[in-house]
Amino acid sequence: MTSLLEALEASGPAAFLRTSFYLYPLLSAAHILAIGATVTSAMLMDLRIIGIGRSISVERVIKYLRPVAMMALGVAVVTGLLLFSVRPLHYVESPAFQLKLVVVFAAILNAVAFNILRRRAEVSKRPLLILAMLSLLLWPSALIAGRFIGFLS
């Protein structure tokens, strides 16, 4: 694991980012944008599922926002990995970073579980509501944990 992180740290992109004046902040901005889009689209879907915003059907909201959420998550992961590569051994020790990874992982699992359950006609609405509420908790928690990476030693 450590040797993998050391290899990442020694990689070309990491070395370039480490000393770049423009690219690092721009990448950081892209990461924030992607996180914003992921968390917002996930929360809008969750809110609709628990009954907020009834002027649009659940199906249409999900059809529109799920690809947005997935694409944004992909961008967030790639930009996040690049930002991480600058100082991997430093970040893995950060409790905020560790917590963020766990919460993001839980939020993704929750979304996968939701999609599996939703496709089954026999499943009642209640478990789906609970998963939507969980999602509504997990995504902002991931954001908060991530924000604390810069503030916790």
């Binding site: 600058v86 908790l137 030693s153």
Partner: protein, 133 residues
């Protein structure tokens, strides 16, 4: 029913937010986590990180390893502290604001001195070093 569910969720989210804000967080962003007065440490550099987002030095001060945080990479190099300025094993003097937690060997440096050269990584703050308190 849905509204009540939502209200409950909102309460939990807000509570979570409040809990994380209330954590006695020791930042390296900003100065909220440091003492207002300056401290000075002298030691030997054991590690240099010259990169984004912040430049840091690990300094051995009589056996205790201090984490000395400088400015972000841009301002730090603008102050003249580039990769040729210091090496592991060099003696360093760091003047800055140490952590409010007296047990923590961590400082946000305003000025560092290596090999007789002075680097003011936070020039506006460094102006106050020589002023009487």
């Amino acid at each position: 029913m849905h509204v009540r569910l939502f209200a409950r969720t909102t309460i939990v989210v807000v509570a979570l937010l409040a809990a994380s804000v209330a954590t006695p967080a020791l930042a390296h962003h900003g100065w909220a986590w440091t003492q207002n007065s300056f401290s000075k440490i002298e030691g030997v550099i054991t590690k240099i990180y010259l990169g984004n987002p912040h430049v840091t030095l690990d300094v051995d001060v009589g056996g205790a390893i201090w984490r000395v945080e400088l400015a972000p990479l841009g301002p730090t190099t603008a102050a003249g502290f580039t990769k040729d300025a210091a090496a592991v094993g060099d003696k360093v003097t760091a003047i800055g604001n140490r952590s409010l937690d007296a047990k923590e060997t961590r400082m946000k440096a305003v000025r560092i001195i290596v090999k007789g050269k002075t680097y003011d990584v936070y020039p506006e703050r460094a102006q106050n070093i020589d002023k009487p308190a």
